[in-house]
Every structure is written in structure tokens, then in C-alpha cells.
């Protein structure tokens, strides 16, 4: 018996990784396990994973969670659980093995890198776990960090998968792994082609690394998988090309300014270097002269001059080399990516259109109140932005008292209308009606109100942003695929904008009030002589415009930060919308909002890193646009146009 054991031990020592049970593997590699590091431990973990021992999963899990220990006396491994007296021991097969004092046991504390490797190894066990959630989590972890080792266990786990969704996921993941890691190139190409022009981000994530390239300088054409040849001066700068040659040891380094000055300072003798006096060294040409003299004297190493560098560049070729060696795979991958690219571009255009539309509806919502006060009445209301802010704060205050978000929004909308309607009417009665003949003065007076209101709001609500939370059913986004998605809040705002458009049209065209408003707009004196009270109509119109600003405030507050400066961000845009669209016409406001919103998104798309630049160009465009259509897109004709 002893002899047999000894033989076994010898066998284990000779080929430690071919051990059968988890316990044996660990014992055989005890030293490695105790000082586990990311670089060295891989064979042990792989062996545990491949052992087929049913306890391996539990052992690995315990190891990762600091639940594995070594008894110092005999070097045996145990699963350990800390308790009052030290550790409760369980042997690796799962049977209780008594109790040990803390000092008798060395607890294994794998570092983060090792824990990560253990987690990867555990994946193959969890892929077949009876718990559906655990299987899904395992799939996700493979997808996040694809590794060649995961391919085999994944394939093994597909056939027995009971859950249909998970099975499709597994199959997709298997194909993704195949196209990257399968040794057979035909299988990889088949996997690539099987996707067609799939839009999934995971597919592009898998294909892109296949097409990763490195730049290479070489005198003769290399045997590697060449993506394309690079011409210095066209595809890469000459400096880059030369640096490439230097790093490949094909040419000596170019002389840098720093190296030159160090060398010159080192060779300073009797107030001159290489025959050039110290005081003359204040130009680059003189320094070059001095260095060349030193080179000739042999005191400094040779460094490439510009001529030499040019000649060297001529003698070499530069290539983009695929890291993937198989040309068939790279061809298939680039073809697949190209067809995906076309589809993605189309989808992005659709997404851009949706974005533009949603921005347009926000601008429309912010501008519609202004279209009434400015467009219909000709009154510039600089405090319009503050009315928007007041609406947003009304929503915030309502949410303080009504905890149910859906109910609070439903209360806030009419309440915001009421608050800003009252504010608008008060402002019209007290100030604006005295200034109807003096539009510039109205602008300044309402600006006075604007700064006062803004400061009052700041004093009351503080400078920090207040939350205005949208109901849960507005969270999330409507996702059509990985490219096109739109958040529900934006859809809601779009619907709200449509509602207001309909409401406004109905009010102006179908009601008595609308008729009177139009009459007063066109000719107040005549309207008055027909029995319409222009004062009352002006008051109501102004109140209506302000009230709509309040509702817009609630809507904007749902996605923007509610601060006292909320309205200021929208006021200039709103004026632009009305002016560009054409004053005095709701369709003009709509057209203006669509144009500004769409254009802004387009400029942002062309220059995505810089939204500030987008706004700048937008305003410049508007200034130029006014040149060609001074009265806006939809200009009123005839008497209603005034002057």
C-alpha cells in the first residue's frame, strides 16, 4: 500500500497537472497555491477546472472567498469557516473534519488578479448550473471578457440548455467566440458570415479586434497579413514613419533639441563649442554647426541629419499589418463590418432624425408661449424664461407634498399653468399695458422683472439643483436596436408638444376667444369698436402665453436640472425659434423649432466632441439666415404683417 502511494506521489510530482482530484492537485502544487500570483497560477487553476472532480467548483469558490486553508502540521488543504475558537474545518470532499486553532491554519488570501482567474474558471461550472439566473450571469461574464478557454465549456453547455432564450444566447455567444478563437479558419469564416449585417454591438466588438493593425517599417515586403501599404507624407507623417524605423532598429535616432543641448553643454570648453562661441549659440543653425563640428571630431555620437533621414525613408516601405495572421478571416471580417457599417449609418440617420425631432419639440414647447406673447401681441417678454423656471419649481414643490410621482405630475401641470397664468396677468396689468407702444421699453422692463424674479427664486430655493422626478413609467427608453433608441420622456414631450399645437390651433380657429384675439392683433381700434374689449383680450392672451411657459417648465424640469437659471438657457433659443420661424404664426414657431432642433443635432453629429461649437455655428447660421428671410420661414403677408 505504502509503495503504491509512493508511486502515485512520484507520478504526481513528475506530472503534477495530470492529477485527478482537486485535493491532489492542490497538494501537488501547494507551494504555488500558497504564493499564488497572476503569472504563475494559471496551470493550477486550469487543472482544477479540467479535472472533472465534482468538488472542484466548491474548492475554487472557497479559494476565491478566502475559505481555503492549509493545516501547517501536515500541509493538508481544508475548507475553513472562521468561528469563535478559530476555524471549523471541512475536508475537500465536504465531510466535517473537526476544529483547529487559528495559529494552526494558514488562510489562503488570493489577490484580485488570481480571484479574477478563479472566477473565469468557475464560469464553466456555472454554465450548467441548475439556477437559470446563475447561468445567465455566467454567460454575461463570458461575453464581457471573451477568452479562448471559454469556447469548449460553452459548446458543451449548449445542448443540455432547457431555457430557450438562454439557449439562443449561448448559441450566439458560441458563434462570437468561434469567429475569434476557433483554430479552424473555415469555421471562423462560417461564423462571421452567419451573422450577415447584424447590428449587435457585441458582434462589432468581436469583429473589430480581428481587424486591429500595427504599423511596420521594413526594407523588403513582409510575409505577414498586410492590410495596406502606407506612404510617408500621405498616410502617416514623415516623423511618424521615421520613428517607426527607429523603434524597429532600422535607423539611428534623430537628434532631438534636448539631446543636442545636453551634448553641447557637456562639450563647452573655453567659452566655445566646436569652434562656435558660446554667445552665438542662440540660433538653431549655430547649434547645428557646432554639433556637426563635434561629430566630425568624434566627441559625440552620430545622429541622423535631415538628409540621411529622407534617404532612409525612401529605402523602406511601411505597412499596416493585421495582428490576425489569416487573410481569409480578415477579408471576411472587413466585408462583414462594411455591410454592417452601411446599415448602421442608415440607422444612425434615423436616430439623428429622432433626436432632432425630440429637441425640436422641446424648443417648440419652450417657444410656443413666446410665439403667443411675442408673435401675436408683439410684446417682448424677457421674463419668459423665468416663467419656465417657475413652472419647473411648481412641479418640485408639488412633489414635496405629493409623494406619488404620477399623481404629482398630473397635479403639477395644471397648477403650473395657474401659477404662471396669474403671474403673467399680473405683469400685463401692472407693467406691460403701459408700454404697448414702446416695444424696446417693454424688453427692458421685462428684463428688470426677469433679473428680480430669478434672484427671488434663487433666494427661495437656493442655488443647488432641485430634483423633479419623473414617474417610473417614463423611465427607460424605447430601444429598437443597438443604434436607434429614444427615451420615454422625450416621447412624452413630443406628445405634449403635439397636444399643445392642436390645443392652440383649436383655440385660435374654433373659439370665440381666438376670434377676438385675432381681431385685436390685426387692428385693436377696429376690434374695440366692434364691442371687443382689447384690454381684456390682451390680458388673457398674455396670461395664456405665460401659462403655457409654466407647463413647458414642468416638462423641461423632468429631464433638465431645476435651478433658477433653467429658463435662461432656453430664452435666447426660444426667441431664435420664433424669429427664424416667422413672427405671429404658430406654424412658423413649429417650422423654426424643427429647423433649429434638427440643425443643432446635425452639427453636433458632425462635430460630436463639442456641443459649444455646435451652438456657436447654430447662432451664426441663424444670423445669416435672417439675411435671406428677414421675416422668418413663414412670413405673414398683407396688413397683418404690420408696418
Amino acid at each position: 500500500m505504502r509503495f503504491l502511494l509512493a508511486c502515485l506521489l512520484a507520478l504526481i510530482c513528475a506530472a503534477p497537472l495530470r492529477a485527478e482530484t482537486a485535493a491532489e492537485i492542490l497538494t501537488a502544487n501547494a507551494a504555488l497555491v500558497q504564493k499564488a500570483s497572476r503569472q504563475t497560477i494559471a496551470p493550477v487553476i486550469d487543472a482544477l477546472g479540467a479535472s472533472g472532480d465534482p468538488t472542484a467548483a466548491a474548492v475554487l469558490e472557497a479559494w476565491a472567498n478566502k475559505g481555503l486553508g492549509i493545516r501547517k502540521a501536515d500541509g493538508q488543504f481544508f475548507l475553513i469557516t472562521a468561528n469563535a475558537d478559530g476555524y471549523a474545518l471541512t475536508d475537500l470532499a465536504g465531510a466535517p473534519a473537526g476544529q483547529a486553532a487559528k495559529s494552526d491554519i494558514t488562510e489562503l488570501k488570493p489577490n484580485a488578479g488570481v480571484r479574477g482567474m478563479i472566477a473565469t474558471a468557475l464560469v464553466q461550472f456555472t454554465l450548467s448550473d441548475p439556477d437559470t439566473l446563475k447561468r445567465a450571469a455566467a454567460l454575461e461574464s463570458i461575453a464581457k471578457d471573451p477568452k479562448p478557454e471559454a469556447l469548449a465549456p460553452l459548446r458543451a453547455a449548449i445542448t443540455n440548455e432547457p431555457d430557450a432564450t438562454l439557449k439562443t444566447q449561448k448559441q450566439r455567444l458560441e458563434r462570437l467566440l468561434t469567429l475569434r478563437f476557433d483554430p479552424d479558419s473555415a469555421a471562423r469564416i462560417a461564423a462571421i458570415n452567419s451573422f450577415g449585417a447584424d447590428l449587435g454591438l457585441d458582434l462589432r466588438g468581436a469583429l473589430n479586434p480581428l481587424l486591429a493593425t500595427t504599423k511596420l517599417a521594413s526594407a523588403t515586403p513582409p510575409t505577414a497579413n498586410i492590410a495596406r501599404e502606407l506612404k510617408p507624407g500621405r498616410d502617416l507623417t514623415e516623423t511618424e514613419a521615421y520613428d517607426l524605423m527607429v523603434s524597429a532598429n532600422l535607423a539611428p535616432a534623430r537628434l532631438t533639441v534636448e539631446a543636442q543641448r545636453t551634448a553641447l553643454i557637456a562639450n563647452l570648453q573655453n567659452g566655445e563649442v566646436g569652434g562656435v562661441s558660446f554667445a552665438d549659440l542662440n540660433t538653431q543653425a549655430a547649434r547645428d554647426r557646432a554639433y556637426t563640428a563635434l561629430e566630425a571630431a568624434g566627441t559625440v555620437p552620430q545622429a541622423a541629419t535631415d538628409d540621411e533621414a529622407t534617404a532612409a525613408l525612401k529605402a523602406h516601405h511601411f505597412y499596416d499589418i493585421y495582428t490576425e495572421p489569416d487573410p481569409a478571416v480578415t477579408t471576411a471580417a472587413s466585408a462583414a463590418l462594411k455591410s454592417i457599417g452601411h446599415k448602421v449609418a442608415a440607422m444612425q440617420a434615423a436616430d439623428l432624425a429622432l433626436d432632432g425631432l425630440s429637441l425640436a419639440s422641446i424648443y417648440f414647447l419652450a417657444a410656443i408661449g413666446l410665439a403667443i406673447t411675442f408673435g401675436v401681441m408683439g410684446v417682448i417678454n424677457m421674463a419668459h424664461g423665468e416663467f419656465i423656471t417657475m413652472g419647473a419649481y411648481t412641479g418640485y414643490v408639488v412633489q414635496l407634498y405629493v409623494p406619488n410621482y404620477t399623481a404629482s405630475i398630473l397635479i403639477a401641470l395644471p397648477l403650473a399653468f395657474a401659477v404662471t397664468f396669474a403671474a403673467g396677468v399680473a405683469m400685463e396689468r401692472l407693467i406691460i399695458r403701459h408700454l404697448y407702444k414702446r416695444p424696446l421699453e417693454t424688453l427692458l422692463a421685462t428684463f428688470g422683472i426677469s433679473i428680480a424674479l430669478q434672484q427671488i427664486l434663487k433666494n427661495v430655493f437656493g442655488t443647488q439643483a432641485r430634483p423633479l422626478t419623473s414617474p417610473a413609467w417614463l423611465d427607460g427608453a424605447l430601444t429598437l436596436n443597438d443604434v436607434v433608441s429614444i427615451s420615454y420622456i422625450r416621447i412624452a414631450i413630443f406628445v405634449l408638444a403635439l397636444l399643445f399645437l392642436t390645443f392652440f390651433l383649436w383655440l385660435m380657429k374654433r373659439t370665440r376667444l381666438g376670434l377676438e384675439v385675432r381681431a385685436v392683433t390685426q387692428n385693436p381700434t377696429m376690434a374695440a369698436s366692434m364691442g371687443i374689449n382689447p384690454d381684456r383680450i390682451n390680458m388673457l392672451t398674455f396670461g395664456l402665453g405665460s401659462g403655457i411657459a409654466g407647463i413647458a417648465g414642468v416638462a423641461i424640469g423632468l429631464f433638465a436640472k431645476v435651478t433658477s437659471e433653467l429658463g435662461t438657457d432656453y430664452i435666447v433659443q426660444s426667441f431664435m425659434t420664433v424669429v427664424v420661424g416667422g413672427v405671429g404664426n404658430i406654424w412658423g414657431a413649429l417650422a423654426g423649432a424643427t429647423m433649429i432642433g434638427g440643425l443643432q443635432k446635425m452639427i453636433e453629429f458632425l462635430n460630436p466632441s463639442n456641443t459649444l461649437a455646435a451652438q456657436t455655428y447654430m447662432i451664426l447660421f441663424i444670423i445669416l439666415f435672417i439675411q435671406f428671410r428677414p421675416r422668418g420661414i413663414i412670413a405673414l403677408k398683407g396688413r397683418a404683417a404690420g408696418d
Binding site: 563647452l268 424696446l440 427692458l444 428684463f447 426677469s450 433679473i451 463639442n610 456657436t616 447662432i619
Partner: protein
């Protein structure tokens, strides 16, 4: 009409004497240490703001064009002079530090050192093309005038050519300053993004001179510029040119039918005021020490209009009084030196409530005293307006109302 120019405009002499007395008083007070250096700077800055308000009064009070973008020219002037100040100052520092490095510095090294010193904060190390003239004071001084002047010329030509008037022009000018501010806020605009230019109070080559003297020099320069501008503008508005632009304010169409080139006059006034404002900015920012794109925010230009309105538009001294009173009051209130008013249930802390007061005062001035503070002088001199039954002087949006007209 044979009386001399001085006699025809008595306010000019009074104003110049007042300004001279004020300058002497401040100089003496600063000399004997009665007022601090920072207060001298505040006064100097206020004089620059008065200068800007003077230009605003010419374009709004006299020509009836409410521009809400003139502070953009103010800031541009500041940026132009700031570029030279920063460049020259950094050059001194770089040369000093390179002198210890073993070899005499080459021009390239100096250039590189300056660029990385100035643009390190925005992660760039090359000097953008717009800094090409920054090494030379005369060129950069020419740019103080040329760049805002050119911008105003192009913008004004585009706007007046297509007959953009009234509130539309106001909104368009506001959009212009907003666009410029947004552009300058970018880090790659070449003017250090939202860091702006700083350290402008240190004049290159004048390390030995204390800030006390420098602040007085700038105070004198500001006072001289204000006096000169006042003199020029009074001369302009008292002549035929003044009559034409007032006529444009009150009834633009009639002036056009009389054969005057309304657009030409407007464009001249717009560009001239832009240049004056830019000069004011070039004097202001070396005293302020720092300039950043926030100075171009549309609100700044609106404040300029507020000063002129409170002081009394359509008269030059009104603009100066308005700018001086409001900006000094503003710095007094927001500086936390104004005593708080306890109301029992709440305390009115003026740092928080000053803006409310300003807004309310502004509304009241617009409604009840369109002549502003300047109207008080009419009251004391017994000058009364003819009774025109409340009719405006002209049909245009910028025209003065009956209550405001005195001339």
C-alpha cells in the same frame, strides 16, 4: 447758431470740470493714503464702464438702436490687449528661466516656452495663429480697434442691409454676443477657453513699479479717455450728424425718403460705438486683472442698457451718471458692506436681494421716469417739455416719447 460749440453745449464744460476735479481729488486721496489701491482700481474701472455707457447712449439714446451686444466688443478689446500683456509677461518669465539652462536661448525655444506656459492649462503647447501679433504692442493695440471695428462693420452691414430693426435687431445682437461667448468657452478657441486670460494687472517691464502707481496711471488714462470721448461725442451729436441720427431714431422712413443713406449712418454709429467700447474694454481689463468668456454673456450687455436707461438716455451726461451710480451701488451692495435689514420674520441680506432691488428700480424707471436720473436736471433748471398730449415724437420703435424729449 453763431454761438461757439462750448456755449451751445454748457453741459460739456460742467462735465469736464467735474471730471477734472474728481480726478484730482482721487489722486490726492490716493497720495495721502485715504483710499486703498483696490478702490482706485474700482473707480478706474467705473470710469471705463462710463465710457462704454457713453457709447451705448450714442447708439441707443441718439440713434434708437438698442444693441444688446456691445459688451462683446468691450470684452474683445480686453482680450486683444490681454493677449499682449500675457504674452509679454510670459516672455519675461520664460527668458529668465531659460537663462539658467546652460546655453543662450534660441528664438524657437522661447516661443515654445511661452506657448507651453500659456496653453498648458488647456492641454495645448502650440501658439494658435491668432496669437501671431501678440509679441508686438503696436500691432495688438491696432487690433484692439480693428477687430471689434471689423466685427461690428460686418455684423452691422449684414443686419442693416436686410433692414433688421427694433426688437429683432436687439435679439440678433444678443445672439451675436452669445455665439461669441460660447465660441470662446471652448478650449480650442485659442484664447484659453473658460480660464480666460489672467495676470493682466502686471505690466511687462514694470516689475519695479508698485500697483499703487499703476492703478493711478490707469485711473488717469481712463479719465482722459472718458473726457476725450465725451468731447468727441458732444461734438458729433451737436452737429448735423447728430440731427440726422436723432431723426432716424424718431422716424426712419421719413429720413430715408429725404434722401439720406439711413443704413450708412446706422453702420457708422454702430461701428464707432463698437470701437469706443472696445477701447474702454482695453482700459478696463488691465485694471480688473482677469478676463474670461463669462464677460461676454448677454446679461452684461443688458446691464449696459440698464445703466443708460437709469441715467437717462438721449443725453451724454445721463449715461455717465447712470453707469457710475449703478455700478458703484452694485459693488457696494454685492460687496457685503451694505447693512442688512432685519424684518422680524426674515432678514434682508443685500448680497441676495440687491438684484431684486435693481430689477424693481429698473421697472419703475421705465414706467414712471423715462428720463432717468438726468430728468432731475431738467426739473431743477426749469426745463419743461411741450404738451403734445402724450404722442411719441416719431412712429419708430426706438423713438423717444413725449416725456423724454427735451431738445
Amino acid at each position: 447758431m453763431t454761438r461757439s460749440f462750448i456755449l451751445r453745449t454748457p453741459s460739456l464744460l460742467i462735465f469736464l470740470i467735474c471730471l477734472a476735479l474728481f480726478t484730482i481729488a482721487v489722486t490726492l486721496a490716493a497720495h495721502y493714503g485715504l483710499i486703498s489701491t483696490s478702490f482706485v482700481k474700482t473707480l478706474g474701472k467705473t470710469l471705463c464702464l462710463c465710457l462704454a455707457a457713453l457709447a451705448m447712449d450714442l447708439i441707443w439714446g441718439y440713434a434708437g438702436i438698442l444693441s444688446l451686444g456691445h459688451m462683446a466688443f468691450f470684452a474683445l478689446g480686453g482680450y486683444m490687449i490681454g493677449m499682449w500683456l500675457m504674452y509679454a509677461r510670459t516672455e519675461e518669465i520664460v527668458i529668465t528661466s531659460l537663462a539658467n539652462s546652460g546655453l543662450p536661448a534660441t528664438p524657437e525655444e522661447i516661443q515654445q516656452g511661452i506657448a507651453s506656459q500659456i496653453f498648458g492649462v488647456v492641454g495645448a503647447s502650440d501658439l494658435p495663429a491668432i496669437w501671431s501679433f501678440a509679441h508686438s504692442l503696436p500691432l495688438q493695440l491696432a487690433l484692439v480697434v480693428a477687430l471689434p471695428g471689423l466685427l461690428a462693420l460686418i455684423f452691422g452691414w449684414l443686419a442693416f442691409r436686410s433692414r433688421v430693426t427694433g426688437v429683432y435687431l436687439s435679439i440678433l445682437t444678443q445672439a451675436m454676443t452669445l455665439a461669441l461667448a460660447l465660441y470662446l468657452f471652448q478650449n480650442d478657441s485659442g484664447l484659453r477657453g473658460n480660464n480666460g486670460l489672467s495676470g493682466l494687472q502686471n505690466l511687462p517691464g514694470l516689475d519695479a513699479v508698485s500697483q499703487d502707481s499703476i492703478s493711478l496711471w490707469f485711473f488717469w488714462a481712463s479719465a482722459a479717455a472718458l473726457a476725450l470721448a465725451y468731447l468727441t461725442l458732444s461734438w458729433i451729436v451737436s452737429g448735423k450728424f447728430g440731427s440726422v441720427i436723432r431723426a432716424i431714431r424718431d422716424d426712419e422712413a421719413r429720413v430715408r425718403f429725404l434722401g439720406y443713406s439711413v443704413e450708412g449712418y446706422k453702420l457708422f454709429v454702430f461701428t464707432l460705438t463698437a470701437v469706443i467700447v472696445a477701447l474702454a474694454g482695453a482700459l478696463y481689463y488691465p485694471q480688473a486683472g482677469i478676463i474670461n468668456p463669462a464677460e461676454l454673456a448677454p446679461i452684461a450687455s443688458i446691464y449696459l442698457a440698464v445703466w443708460v436707461a437709469i441715467g437717462g438716455r438721449g443725453r451724454l451726461y445721463g449715461a455717465v451718471i447712470g453707469a457710475a451710480v449703478v455700478s458703484l451701488l452694485s459693488s457696494w451692495f454685492t460687496g457685503g458692506r451694505a447693512p442688512s435689514i432685519p424684518l422680524g420674520f426674515a432678514t434682508i441680506n443685500w448680497v441676495d436681494w440687491w438684484q431684486v432691488l435693481l430689477g424693481a428700480a429698473f421697472v419703475c424707471v421705465t414706467l414712471f421716469a423715462p428720463k432717468g436720473i438726468g430728468g432731475l436736471f431738467d426739473h431743477f433748471t426749469g426745463l419743461h417739455t411741450p404738451d403734445r398730449k402724450g404722442a411719441p415724437l416719431g412712429p419708430d420703435q426706438g423713438s423717444l416719447q413725449e416725456k423724454e424729449a427735451i431738445e
